[in-house]
């Protein structure tokens, strides 16, 4: 498998520094699960973060801080965690959906309950604790356009099965498309196989005024 569309430096840096909201992070982390080369870039950024931590100028640790730590250690010494166990099971088929996405959906592709979007397309909304983004899994029938595509803000699309074409670019499993409002695009699922992708967008603006809220669906904002 070769991935052609990777995580941009800015996005990866924001993930490395812990600033990226949950929805975007979900797409980034799922791409990372499939992409050794982006993991290598991430690990370099984390090394830089570690070096910055090492170079921070500070005073010495207070004895008081250490005493507090000792008390906590004494209390907590029962729940020591061990090296992580290997959950790989020989002979089982590889899931289509990698972690962390699979846990967010509660299972792999064949256990999902799709909801129709019309025109043969399906979606599954993904529950996030963070409300600034919206994430969902989309299934677009082969040869059909990706629905609901007027987006105002940022958008990340990660392909998990099949592929889509956007202009002259083809996005297949593992490819990540970063788009913003300035990009006019018309993704189209490729022929032959349904395209399953994770789509993350900015949450629509919530207006306080009841009047604006009332006409919001009419204006489509």
């Amino acid at each position: 498998m070769s991935i052609n569309h990777h995580i941009s430096d800015e996005l990866l840096l924001r993930y490395a520094s812990g600033e990226l909201a949950e929805g975007w992070s979900l797409a980034v982390a799922t791409h990372l699960a499939l992409c050794p080369s982006c993991r290598q870039r991430l690990s370099k950024m984390e090394t830089i973060g570690g070096a910055l931590l090492e170079n921070i100028s500070t005073g010495a640790a207070s004895d008081d801080a250490w005493a507090r730590m000792r008390r906590r250690m004494d209390k907590a010494d029962v729940r020591v965690s061990q090296p992580m166990e290997d959950h790989r099971q020989a002979g089982r088929a590889e899931p289509i959906l990698p972690e962390p996405l699979r846990s967010y959906l509660g299972g792999d592709i064949d256990s999902l309950k799709w909801r129709s979007l019309g025109m043969g397309a399906y979606q599954i909304p993904i529950r996030l604790a963070d409300t600034s983004t919206i994430a969902r899994l989309l299934r677009i029938p082969a040869g059909k356009p990706v629905p609901e595509h007027g987006h105002a803000g940022q958008e990340l699309t990660l392909v998990l099965a099949g592929s889509f074409r956007d202009g002259s670019d083809v996005f297949a499993r593992g490819d990540l498309e970063e788009a913003d409002a300035s990009l006019t695009h018309q993704p189209l699922a490729s022929e032959g196989e349904d395209c399953i992708c994770l789509a993350v967008t900015d949450a629509p603006l919530k207006f306080k005024s009841w009047l604006v809220r009332l006409i919001q669906p009419v204006l489509g904002i």
Binding site: D9, E10, L13, L26, L52, G59, L97, P100, R102
Partner: protein, 188 residues
């Protein structure tokens, strides 16, 4: 400032942390604590500007270091990198009130690295040394932007606004700084 402490070689730290993982070595942990606790607290303080919260988040982070020391692998990187990622995750958990979405090395769908995992502990140590030198050689404004992107909860455009410099300048300075550090990391 405790200048003498600054010079603590990273591979010693690595040995100490391994000993904490293997033997629940309290003395080794105390050395690590005295070195890293003030740094983690300063890191947290830059993000929250609240001394009490920073102290609390530092204690939380060092507690995770104590509990998870057995998971530290010197071949994957230095102690400072490992503690940095823990501090960052503690901060995400607390401020965003969500677990940080992360890949799982043991997931059957996880695509393994092509290269066979060799013993990379020494390599990681050398890498950290090269990085430290490259960082010291960075122009002040590039280092400043790098720190801001790691320590402040702000996008490149928010940083540009805060410093009243064009977004393009922020991006190009960060890109330059990264290119230099990355080149230092890729030297052989």
């Amino acid at each position: 400032m405790d200048e003498s402490d600054q010079e603590q070689p990273t591979d010693d730290m690595s040995g100490l942390l391994v000993s904490v993982g293997l033997n629940r070595d309290v003395e080794a942990f105390e050395v690590l604590f005295r070195h890293y606790a003030p740094r983690v607290k300063a890191y947290m303080a830059r993000l929250s500007r609240d001394g009490t919260a920073a102290e609390e988040l530092m204690q939380e982070t060092m507690m995770v270091v104590w509990n998870k020391a057995a998971q530290f692998e010197p071949s994957r990187g230095t102690v400072s990198t490992w503690i940095y990622t823990i501090a960052r995750n503690v901060r995400v958990d607390v401020y965003r009130r969500t677990k940080r979405p992360e890949f799982d090395l043991n997931d059957p769908a996880f695509v393994q690295d092509d290269a066979a995992p060799a013993d990379k502990a020494f390599e990681a140590f050398q890498e950290a040394e090269r990085l430290r030198r490259a960082m010291a050689a960075l122009p002040a404004e590039q280092l400043d932007l790098l720190k801001r992107s790691f320590y402040e909860d702000s996008s490149h455009s928010a940083i540009a606004e805060a410093l009243s410099i064009p977004l393009g300048t922020v991006k190009s300075r960060i890109r330059l700084a990264f290119a230099k550090l990355r080149a230092a990391l890729e030297e052989r």
